[in-house]
Point group: C2
Chain length 264, copies 2
Amino acid sequence: MLITGGTAHAQDGSAGPIMLTTMSTSLHHRAIEHLGTRIVSGALPTGHVMLAEQLEDELKVSRSVVREAVRVLQSLGLVETIKRVGIRVLPASRWNPFDPLVIRWRLAGEGRGAQLRSLAELRSAVEPVAAELAARNAPEEIRRELLDVSLAMRDAGQAGNVAEFLQLDIQFHSLLLTGSGNEMFANLVGQVAETLTGRTVHGLMPDHPRETALQWHVDVAEAIAAGDAAAAREASSRIMRETISEMEAGWRDQPRVFIPRQQG
Amino acid sequence: MLITGGTAHAQDGSAGPIMLTTMSTSLHHRAIEHLGTRIVSGALPTGHVMLAEQLEDELKVSRSVVREAVRVLQSLGLVETIKRVGIRVLPASRWNPFDPLVIRWRLAGEGRGAQLRSLAELRSAVEPVAAELAARNAPEEIRRELLDVSLAMRDAGQAGNVAEFLQLDIQFHSLLLTGSGNEMFANLVGQVAETLTGRTVHGLMPDHPRETALQWHVDVAEAIAAGDAAAAREASSRIMRETISEMEAGWRDQPRVFIPRQQG
DNA sequence: TGACACCGATGTGTGCTGACATCAAAACTC
DNA sequence: GAGTTTTGATGTCAGCACACATCGGTGTCA
């Protein structure tokens, strides 16, 4: 495809030479974002085949950028490249559901409900165990901080200060996960924060959290401070049960899939 | 920076305990593998800076290959690229601990013990919840299959048939996770299989699994078949407790880290 | 004389392009 | 229908232009 001489880096748009750059992210990231969101949203359905050249044209970027973006999407399980065929969109069962990018894209689109359910269920599984581990292993400083935050949460909750409560809630659960000393648990902090903010933003959160729920957070912190693993687990379980039942309405209509994760 | 010297492309020639591989022999994959293993193993320490040109030379590949590989490693949180500086190795707290590649590399090297502990703890958190969900939601076919497999496990266990037991064990837990209808749980199948084989290969598995443990698997399957979520959870919890206590010795000396997840 | 600010040189990632290699699907020949 | 050739896509390579962070030199001011 000879492209005639003109400026190769034609930054379309009328305005002249400047204005590019600092457009937030690199071309590479923008390409990943563009393709990722369209695949996860379903705009590019499973089995859809694209050509690298077509993507260059569509995204107005060069081969390098397209190729590097496709490589990353490939490592996320979103696409595969086949010689003589092109770049094929893979079924959702091949996506890596733990990748932050994939989670973000799903939360931004159709799959939001199902994604929130998955995260909430994962949280409900992990947090009680994290509380147990924290009670056994967490350093003194984290135990103390957990106590402080839980008490502050109670105050903010009783005062109906939603914004501060959310911030403390996130901090509490982050400390809990970090304090477990399990790096996989600790890495869920971001996703947990996402579900908590999601709950608040979507009005699933009562203005005044139930008094008992507030006390449970204090119970968790006190049990961890005291090194009582069983109590920490039990109190955390109660929080999780409450949380799930609060949010359940948001995804009741979402279908579940029972397809084994394919390949590796 | 003396590096290499020896075999640059040293593909573990020894008996690879893990079966995947298939060695796609793509230059791109080899570059990822080469750098990934060396970073995760600690051969390239945190903060170490490499130059793209140096990597081309070291791996004997062109710019494109190096750049695409670095992009992928960047998306895994293993490295960052800085203009005018080079490609810098990031601390382990930035790695994505859920990525299959990272997990595989850690299992293959120093971090094996810590990785197995993380996976086992994650499993112990997830499986009881998965059992609960399966009891509520799994399709009839999976419930039936779970029952069949659990009975076959009991037979193989009593007969001391280790190889067959392992295979059935993996199948059982895969069915359980898949049957939960939670895509994140289902995606842990591969990692669970890894821990199970690891346990067997490293002799942490008794030749004749305890009779009670075998029965617990049947209990889980029967509870799921009957739709009894609480019983399924309880029986699964028992299995997890037993499993953890069996394997615990393998990682008792591994240090825990309490660093909050970084980046975003 | 010394400390600080400015500014250009330098080096390295980022992005673009043309060319060739490779390989598998599709078309073709026998 | 089986084997062979053609075709068309990704895979790989090499060179260039550009953006920009860092470094070091130079000038100014105290």
